[in-house]
Symmetry: D2
Subunit: 290 residues, 4 copies
């Protein structure tokens, strides 16, 4: 959280925490909240049968400062070896957007962001092409393009990504149809804080031009998957998926257009949930507290 | 809860509670659960901005008996003036089904019940026609029919409903296309424990033969609403709704068939949630802890 | 169709026709197409059991000019007393957009239009507020605002609408959250060529602030209906409907945001189908040849 | 078609045909229909850009007998080298159901069949287990079980399948969770007239226990695909697909239950369309004239 964010008189906090499951956690956490004169307005929890971990997301109203709230929770966090986040509800997450030439995901994200539906702020859209300069500029968001033509320019682009993350206190990187494979080094840097989008089909198709393959097989549903970036391409933990029905009359080009719509809304949804601290990781799975 | 239900060695309990919202409730409730050596495995809560009420549903694992658990919670319930339910997870709710001649909802409910998806037990299906005798019998469920032809026979039918409720410790009454308007007296008796199903359209249609009206207007979506029975016909608190897409080529008869499918799955879903204590009332609204 | 539209060497035509149903129509129409050396690439038909009318939409490839094609079809059209349209596939329909302050529907329409998904051209967006000037301008579309504050200024606005229709050869008027009730005179002028969008609920709600009412009743689905404008407010023939699932935790403000999304995509869909001559009227119903 | 089916005074016919696309087909076909004093009540066509083939499905009302209609169409069929089917609308297709122990698909098919929604007749359900004997018997359908325990008993089962097809003039074989891999020989015999159902995920999973894998990856959508049986396991032309949303809280067992529901409704839908001659093959794709 940036220290300059002004707080309301009565603070509205979000708390997300993960630890090994055992009896008494809720009692301990809610005790700390009582101590901070907090009132729980939203609470969700889940215990993973796979990993034995306990996940919790709370929203509370409390007159406490960040320091007071952190202090109240500290003994509990220590006792249960919790990983926890404390944030102000609605604080815009500092987000770097990586793009290429396709505008659908970027436009959907920026339009809904401007409409107040996506609690992020975007210090920069960084692209390997200049195509989207005007679109991004219309929304008053800084735009920068750096061509990628070979290994050296790709390394330069990724160096600029890391620099932009540091310069802008970036908390989330969104790959909005960035279309480039990230280096393993950058994947490692971004672990757990970068979201990608890709098309999805039943059944899945490997290799080039999947929409053409989907057309050739006559699939009846096409969709999109938003997932965390990992070094295993397109195999990171899934955050959200959507599909839409198609029929035999659709050309491959129409399938692409339909798929892009699904990609846009799926990516924007995933970013929104992440920015609201609703996405928690449980190994290869996500816990989504909608 | 019937006292004869055998309990597992380690009990799995569901607790649902409602009270006026104020700080400290979660801490107090979780403290009682710690006292009963319980571990919370599922928890959902909601504070209604409309009524200021707090709703909570918990599932816990605890070695405590019902008496021990009730005793542990009693001081909390008293302090916060809670309305609460304590039950064994998965205990089949004793359910009376009222039907008429249409078999779709009854068959869907009985088939899924037999498949273990609906935690109810059905001591009786009561109908004003004999049409469904064989279908109900196939599932091994008792069936009884009493004709309704005038005010007197209707009063006799409703008297039999009340008698059946008492004789069988009925906790839920399901109107599975019963098609009769209940008397205000019976509505009052059933308040908060009877679920009805009816067709739904965009826009709504008043009067006779709504599917014909829907056809005449060329609606593109038809659906179903499951709701609590109140004396205000078809206006009780909504539990679940579904719709399905239709087009101009559908005849009124086809709209009816499609609508019946939606009614079946919507009613079965609502019954399942109610039986799992996931449906709580907040005035004219329902809180559904899925 | 504007005479300046350049035609491809091999023309791709759309033909839509309506007449009283009787044997031999398809044979007669396809004979005229054979005469025009045409090949049918898409064909849909429907006979209304309600009105006895026959509806057909064809796409054909033919080297014939408009005059040759019209001449080939003329004897058939006369013999069966057909109402018919002949147009070039993909020709952008000249569309006037009426708006107010809400930007969601306008942005969705303009963005998808720019992406080539909506075959229209927009000579003007006319609004009773200046709010959307920058948004519309970004897409390079002319924008004009005229305040409506009383009966006189409303009449002036409507006079400007009629003038703009005439000056720009307008074929379709889209009410993209225009929010004003049209006068009966304007409704009459626009009959069959103006599309409106409004929110939709199960059940329907009359009166002010329907989202607040929907919240109060705890509806589980909210949606939108795109329909033709008639003098009977919100009761014109339905073109398209969509719904989305909501739950008890949604505030009235969130319901509004969700509803606006449904409105946007539903309106854009209806406009696209209309521009492709896929929407035919059968009394109070629409036949949609998707 | 079985000769014993009584025809209505005024026949309602369905005609499905496939040939290489060229100008004049619709005119020629509709001319033959005029000659048979027929009136077209439903018509759909599609030209495949992939294979250059033309597909058409018609429903007509005509006083002609089958012989007269066939004679009228014969010159057209010959001229365009058509593959065609002529059938009475609604004639129940003779269908053999293969099952194993799972009852969901069989029950859905039999219940909807009894309700008049699926135009088939089922002379036999053949299973490798006796589990479903009572369920099938309840619907008045013959049931037979033959255990499969080794290669010899599997060959005997398949021989019985072929015998049952011949003895009962079977036109469609439905694998309603039959769970056995068919021999290449049987696949060849059944080509184009056997429908299978299997679960589907985004992304797809290979190998055993896919629901467990889907759980481990935390998929948000699970579904089902109905497809033609080919010797390439689970890779035959797709007829219908459905998905349903799931979240992190679902156990693998719950995913199985949800998946079975999708399988049931997807299979029944595919069977219905096939029985209505709405499913045509275009290489590896299906054309579905809904």
């Amino acid at each position: 959280m940036t220290s300059s964010t002004p707080l309301p008189a009565h603070h509205h906090w979000v708390i997300a925490l993960v630890c090994v499951d055992q009896p008494g956690i809720v009692h301990a956490v809610s005790g700390a909240i009582v101590q901070a004169h907090g009132n729980i307005t939203e609470s969700q929890q889940f215990t993973s049968a796979d990993t034995g971990r306990f996940f919790m997301r709370l929203q509370i109203e409390s007159p406490a400062s960040r320091e007071e709230l952190t202090a109240a929770l500290a003994p509990v966090a220590e006792r249960y070896a919790m990983v926890s986040v404390i944030d102000v509800v609605g604080r815009p997450l500092r987000t770097l957007v990586l793009a290429s030439t396709a505008g659908n995901c970027v436009n959907d994200l920026l339009f809904r962001h401007r409409g107040g539906q996506v609690p992020i702020e975007i210090p920069l859209v960084l692209s390997n092409h200049g195509t989207l300069r005007d679109l991004v500029g219309f929304y008053g968001v800084p735009f920068e393009s750096l061509p990628i033509t070979d290994a050296a320019s790709k390394a330069a682009f990724e160096a600029r990504v890391i620099e932009a993350i540091e310069d802008n206190d970036i908390e989330l990187v969104v790959l909005a149809r960035y279309m480039q494979i990230l280096s393993p080094e950058l994947c490692a840097v971004l672990e757990g804080r970068a979201i990608n989008i890709h098309h999805s089909f039943l059944p899945g198709f490997k290799g080039a031009n999947p929409y053409k393959q989907a057309h050739a097989r006559g699939v009846k549903l096409i969709g999109a998957t938003a997932h965390f970036v990992t070094s295993d391409l397109d195999e990171g933990p899934i955050i959200e998926q959507n599909v839409v029905r198609v029929d035999h009359s659709r050309t491959p080009a129409e399938l692409v257009a339909i798929g892009q719509d699904e990609e846009s809304r799926t990516l924007t949804q995933a970013v929104t949930w992440f920015a609201e601290h609703r996405v928690l990781l449980d190994g290869a799975r996500t816990i989504i507290f909608k």
